[in-house]
């Protein structure tokens, strides 16, 4: 690129020098249409082509903004005028006119004519390049075409003079110049860039356009003066160049004249345009924030900051109203340029407050004059709040927050502000909703971990293995419906012969039930050894529980002591499912009377409790279970019930405790069609070998 630049520049220089020497050599000769004249024309054209290419590269390397571009043109026209002034002040002898041809009187005239012509060419090309940027801003298909047509027209008009004498005027070139001027006017309406300038830049654009306009105008006037000296130099140098520069100057003058007037008319709306721009960028920023800010506080700060910017409010604050189940407190989350006391003062008056009006209507409330509006005139006078704009943040038709903005002056807000803030409020509402969802999912995850921990803990409350005896085969299983449950089974060695086994069910499910279950475990382990009689145990367990248990909760328990030598089994039942007893010859649900634990104190409870005694023989099976078994439902909604339980145990009576337990689970599982147990479920099988 650098090499290309050097080549182009040096090429242009060499050609220009060549032209100079040709001119010097033929100072007093009319070349007419000789070979030398053609050579001179060729060199001139080539040198300008090289210069144009060079300028294009240089300009592309340093891209400028719109306003900078216009500024550059102003500088270029200024520079050109300065050089013109200097050259016209030089004591040059000028030209002699003979037969429409110019003959320089001395060599200095030739030299400075060349210099000035090249400068004029540079000026014209540079101006065109900059104007091209302006014309083609936000281009349409036709824009580019029109501009290219203009350039072609200018070049054709210039080219038609390539072979004519310096002062000769032809009809053809006149027509081309006319076409070029027409296209200049057409292209001068392309001023799309003005609308997109911020107000401050518009003022600069106005100034630069004016300067450029006058610059071009002055140049145009100079060029059209017959008496002038320097422009004759261009005529002498190349009549085509003269036409080119002249047309370019007309273009510049017309274009910047138009742009000056147009910018002037755009100025009054510049502020509105700026505001739309700010609004768009604020909305854009906010949309971006939605995906980035998970912290509600940060979000609120951003929202109030942007609101202040967008509607130029004196003070802004954002109130968050928590939805049900939210972890956030209600209140002002972020405020700008206003104290909490002032906010409280504005929102006083309970049911009649502006706040409740917005909450109820769920619509934007605009108060033009706080002092005289009937909804706010009872409020104490406040300097900061002349007018008030209140926007509800809605999510699923619920008010989840309120955005307030005030201005010092009355009638400070207009319909535009309402529209802007409404759109804004929607975005903020989504962002708040997002932040809340994320927080909730974090919280949920934390609770899930806690529950898993509770599940682990509860599993440890159940015996890992049941004791093994020569006479009694015992197996048990417990499966909670949720992570943790209220089912319980356990055993205790009372003495060498006696073992106590228990199955219980705390009312309800989940964490609450799990706590009581842990308490039952403690009570069982401590009391069972002290009170070997199941009835005595139940009465004492009830005493221990009744004081600590919630009055709508209770615990059902079935407790039996088994003599591992004699086979005697004593069972007491406190509101629990009856024990299933299957022998070779009989099947029976053993159901001694008894209230659930924790329902009634002392006397009433002990009066209800009974004991039953059986003696287990070889092959006999006893099954303890919770209502999760009998109340399991099929897909048709029918309960598993006592009959099916009895059937499956009878069918598997001859098998070991483990197999009986598995058979029950499998049967229940098939019955419920594997849709998962609805309730906590526990099975405890005792088989006399």
């Amino acid at each position: 690129m650098r090499l290309k630049k050097v080549l182009l520049l040096s090429g242009a220089l060499i050609l220009s020098v060549a032209v100079f020497f040709l001119n010097a050599a033929t100072k007093n000769i009319d070349l007419e249409t000789s070979f030398l004249q053609h050579l001179r024309t060729l060199c001139t054209v080539l040198s300008f082509v090289a210069l144009t290419a060079y300028l294009q590269i240089v300009k592309r390397e340093r891209p400028r903004g719109i306003v900078q571009g216009i500024g550059s043109i102003a500088v270029v026209t200024g520079g050109f005028l300065a050089i013109y002034l200097i050259i016209s002040l030089l004591p040059l002898k000028g030209f002699e006119t003979r037969d429409l041809t110019l003959f320089p009187r001395d060599y200095q005239t030739i030299f400075f004519s060349s210099v000035f012509s090249i400068v004029a060419g540079l000026f014209a090309v540079t101006s065109l390049l900059f104007i091209k940027d302006l014309v083609l801003y936000k281009r349409k298909k036709t824009t580019f075409r029109n501009f290219v047509l203009l350039i072609i027209a200018i070049l054709t008009a210039a080219a038609s003079q390539l072979f004519s004498k310096p002062l000769q005027e032809s009809v053809a070139s006149g027509i081309f110049i006319g076409i070029a001027v027409l296209l200049i006017v057409m292209n001068s309406f392309r001023l799309a860039w003005i609308a997109y300038l911020p107000r401050k830049e518009k003022i600069y654009a106005l100034l630069y356009s004016l300067l450029s306009f006058f610059g071009f105008l002055v140049i145009l006037i100079i060029f059209s003066q017959e008496a002038g000296g320097a422009e004759k130099g261009i005529h002498y140098y190349s009549a085509a160049l003269y036409t080119f520069v002249q047309l370019t100057t007309i273009f510049g003058a017309v274009y910047f004249g138009m742009s000056f007037i147009s910018t002037l008319f755009h100025l009054p709306t510049a502020e509105a345009f700026d505001r739309k721009q700010t609004e768009i960028s604020s909305l854009h920023n906010l949309s971006r924030l939605i995906t980035q800010v998970f912290d509600l506080k940060d979000l609120a700060e951003t929202a109030t900051k942007m609101t202040t910017e967008v509607v130029q409010a004196t003070s802004v604050w954002l109130e968050i109203i928590p939805t049900e189940g939210s972890f956030h407190k209600s209140g002002v989350m972020s405020r700008r340029n206003i104290g909490q006391e002032e906010i409280d003062a504005i929102l006083t008056g309970d049911r009649l407050s502006v706040r409740s009006i917005v909450c109820e209507s769920r619509k934007v409330l605009m108060i033009d004059d706080v002092g005289s509006d009937k909804r706010t005139r009872h409020l104490p006078r406040m300097k900061k709040a002349g007018s008030l704009l209140i926007v509800p943040l809605l999510s699923h038709q619920q008010v989840i927050g309120i955005l307030y903005a005030t201005k010092e002056i009355e009638y400070g807000f207009d319909q535009d502000d309402v529209d802007i803030l409404s759109g804004f409020a929607d975005q903020v509402a989504i962002a708040i909703e997002n932040a809340r969802l994320i927080e909730r999912s974090f919280e949920k995850e934390r609770l899930q971990r806690e529950l898993m921990l509770a599940q682990e803990m509860q599993k440890r409350l159940l015996p890992q293995d049941l004791p093994v005896f020569a006479t009694v085969d015992m197996k048990a299983v417990s499966s909670p419906a949720l992570e943790v449950g209220g089912d319980y089974y356990d055993y205790v060695h009372i003495n060498d012969r006696l073992v106590g086994v228990v199955v219980g069910d705390v009312s309800g499910k989940g964490v609450g039930a799990a706590f009581y279950m842990a308490e039952v475990k403690g009570i069982f382990q401590s009391l069972a050894k002290i009170f070997p009689s199941p009835k005595e145990f139940m009465i004492n367990a009830n005493e221990a529980l009744v004081s600590s248990i919630d009055k709508r909760s209770f615990i059902s328990l079935i407790y039996a002591t088994i003599d591992t030598v004699s086979g005697e089994l004593v069972v007491a039942r406190a509101g629990h499912c009856p024990m299933l007893y299957v022998t070779e010859t009989s099947t029976e649900y053993i159901r001694p009377q008894g209230l659930g634990l924790g329902m009634k104190t002392g006397g009433i409870f002990s009066g209800t409790i009974e004991e039953k005694k059986i003696t287990m023989k070889s092959g006999d099976v006893c099954v303890f279970y919770t209502d999760g078994v009998t109340e399991s439902r099929s897909t048709e909604g029918e309960e598993f019930g006592y009959e099916r339980l009895l059937d499956v145990v009878v069918a598997n009576r001859h098998r070991g405790a483990e197999e009986i337990k598995e058979a029950i689970i499998q049967t229940v599982w098939q019955y419920t069609d594997a849709q998962g147990y609805h309730d906590d479920l526990t099975i405890f099988v005792i088989k006399w070998r």
């Binding site: 009312s507 309800g508 009055k551 709508r552 209770f554 059902s556 509101g575 329902m599 009634k600 009433i604």
Partner: protein
């Protein structure tokens, strides 16, 4: 999800009947709780719970009766239960409810038991 509904129907002698319908479990107990609370707020303590259309009651459902019985009886009223299906009665019976509550086959009988002294 199973539905549960309570209908309150006033009777003679300042007695109010709560007709239960459907499946009473941990999810639906608030409905029954609200009904009892309403009765207490209106100082109506002579209550019959008609269980004719009650298809199931869980331990949480049983807990509701225990939560309110003390307040009702403290105001010389009672909660009597009637018209249970055998299956529902079995659930009440397992826990020993018949030892604490008047459970009778028919609503008329429960009303009769309240007597005439309103």
């Amino acid at each position: 999800m199973s539905e549960f509904k309570v209908t309150i129907r006033p009777r003679d002698n300042n007695i109010h009947v709560l007709e239960l319908k459907g499946y009473l479990d941990a999810h639906t107990t608030p409905v029954l709780e609200d009904a009892f609370q309403q009765m207490l707020n209106e100082k109506k303590y002579r209550l019959i719970v008609n269980c004719r259309e009650l298809t199931y009651i869980s331990s949480a459902g049983l807990g509701v009766f225990m939560a309110f019985i003390e307040d009702v009886r403290a105001n010389t009223g009672d909660i009597k239960l009637s018209d249970m299906t055998p299956k529902v009665f079995n659930i009440f019976d397992l826990l020993g409810f018949p030892m604490l509550y008047d459970i009778v086959p028919a609503e008329e009988e429960a009303a009769h038991k309240f007597g005439n002294n309103a």
